[in-house]
Symmetry: C2
């Protein structure tokens, strides 16, 4: 073992160690519409608890997407608590608020109200309201935190035949887009190094989560990128997606996920916009470059919101008219932002 996470692991709050060490039967849950970080973290918490001698169930209120079938032990994820289990600790991972657990929480209101909580989360928006919370917005992923927790508790990251490392690395790869996003810090990379050393298959995880697409999705990306254009001032790159595109490629609406990120790779444009026909109107997605236009300023003009670099809105007028308006506003904001 060459990678030493000790100096980082020392920062894990004692309360977290105490609660997890004292538990006999843990209910480990992530958020609804699960992703790599919530699944990885909730499964890892269960594995750590088991290594400490407890029993543990992993629960998620929605079915696990097929993309995560590669996670060792994924079949153990339950869609509801076990009515016969005598849980004595609820661990909530990667939920910015308890509401993020989803409707399953209301459906088992008595249980969720009764159990002592331990909240582990990296969302800056988390309100810290729960006394059993460990919130670290400097972590790129909740899995980065759970890796430190495991280290502090003396659980080898190679535990469960490498299953622990695979789960934790999946969350980090997911939330950093394989270390490409600005949230990947020196600590994130150190934790990843320790997980790779413990047997985590980094390139395989990255391939599963970011470099695997249904063929219909590849064709949909092609259609939408192929008709992309840049405004005459060079400041805005844009494209549109219609129901006809879905029909022509055999793709579904969710397959459009990621197209806006490709558009935002434009060398010249400061702003990338994608307009999609949906049943509820035209869905506007916006990406802007570091130091460029505030994406929420553009989204705000259409009643939407988001973050400075990524925002969106829904516009209830026809696609062509919506595109005209959005491009005019985007060019005006980009021009005003010029140094």
């Amino acid at each position: 073992m060459t990678v030493d996470l000790g100096p980082y692991a020392d920062a894990v709050p004692d309360l977290v160690l105490e609660r997890l060490s004292a538990a006999r039967m843990v209910l480990s849950v992530g958020h609804e519409n699960p992703d790599g970080d919530s699944l990885g973290a909730s499964m890892a918490v269960a594995m750590v608890a088991e290594r400490l001698g407890a029993r543990a169930d992993v629960m998620c209120g929605d079915p696990v997407p097929d993309a995560y079938a590669y996670l060792p032990g994924i079949e153990r994820v339950r869609i509801a608590p076990d009515p016969d289990a005598r849980y004595d600790l609820l661990v909530v991972s990667d939920c910015g608020s308890l509401d993020r657990i989803g409707p399953v929480r209301d459906a088992h209101g008595e249980l969720f109200a009764r159990l002592p909580h331990l909240v582990i989360d990296h969302h800056a928006s988390n309100d810290h309201a729960d006394p059993g919370s460990w919130i670290d917005p400097s972590a790129a992923a909740t899995c980065e935190m759970v890796a430190l927790l495991a280290t502090r508790l003396g659980v080898p990251l190679s535990w469960a035949d490498g299953g622990l490392a695979t789960a934790l690395l999946s969350g980090i790869v997911m939330d950093t887009a394989t270390f490409a996003h600005p949230n990947a810090t020196a600590r994130t990379l150190m934790v990843a190094a320790a997980l790779v050393e413990a047997g985590g298959p980094l390139s395989e995880i990255s391939r599963r989560l970011y470099r695997t697409k249904p063929d219909a999705q590849l064709r949909l990306f092609g259609l939408v990128l192929g008709r992309s254009r840049t405004t005459p001032d060079g400041r805005v790159v844009y494209s549109t997606m219609t129901d006809a595109d879905l029909a022509a490629t055999g793709a579904s609406a969710e397959h459009s996920e990621g197209i806006i990120d490709l558009l935002s790779q434009s060398e010249t444009a400061d702003v990338a916009v994608l307009l999609k026909e949906t049943d509820d109107g035209v869905r506007l997605s916006i990406r802007t470059k570091p130091g460029g236009v505030d994406a929420t300023a553009l989204a705000g003009r259409f009643g939407g919101g988001g973050h400075a670099r990524a925002a969106g809105a829904t516009i209830e007028i026809p696609l062509e008219a919506a595109l005209d308006t959005v491009l005019r506003e985007a060019q005006s904001l980009a021009a005003a932002n010029e140094p």
Copy 2:
């Protein structure tokens, strides 16, 4: 400083330390057609030599592509040796053989023959012929090796206002595709952690090298992806690129770089092939999945070669006929490879 590269740096051969420490005027060169690793490593070697008190020139036989304009000090890269400099050491970085330096080596044959050499390289194909060679095929990038060299010599990775860290991190990001390729090891991630801690702007480098495309290239990707198809057996995903595509999008032939990697993201296909019209015939590019068809077997049927997962060939028959033949061979190989 939390990240400690010491245990890895101990492996740097003493000969390398001695030669570099003794030099007074270094000529630091990378390979022709420079990329992020050869530029990053040759610039970093010069910075390390300067920190040790020597003078240094950086040279590359071809002009530096615009994509690397962000590298601090890139303007110092010379296209030929300084005729007035009294070099006493030649450091050759990221060259699998000395031929990779390019024609500039022959143009200054006397100088290159006379100077003592220090070769730093990570290519497994390097023949180790030179007694002054440090070859480490376990390194993902030559920059990973130079980071260990700097550490061993006591040069802070934050040297040159972070310029050293930016140069070294660029080579690692380049050669691992931002840690997505299987060559990224625990050591690679540890070195990257130390470089980020020293001020290397990871997400900015990744954006510059992998997420920045001319708008014409985005449209070209779109056209080619949009017409991608899968063979009826589901085993081969394919597309074609013609001169008409370049004319329609305003893209140049080099802009097709990367399309095959997007095609190879196909969830179902084991083999991805792209056929491009060129002046010399039809250029075939092949990618295959881990554990799948050997790409060199397919390329070999057309007189080409490469690696098990990435190979290519040139076929001197018309595009449509070439496509038919390639798909037939690819499906036959994929069927034979089924478990």
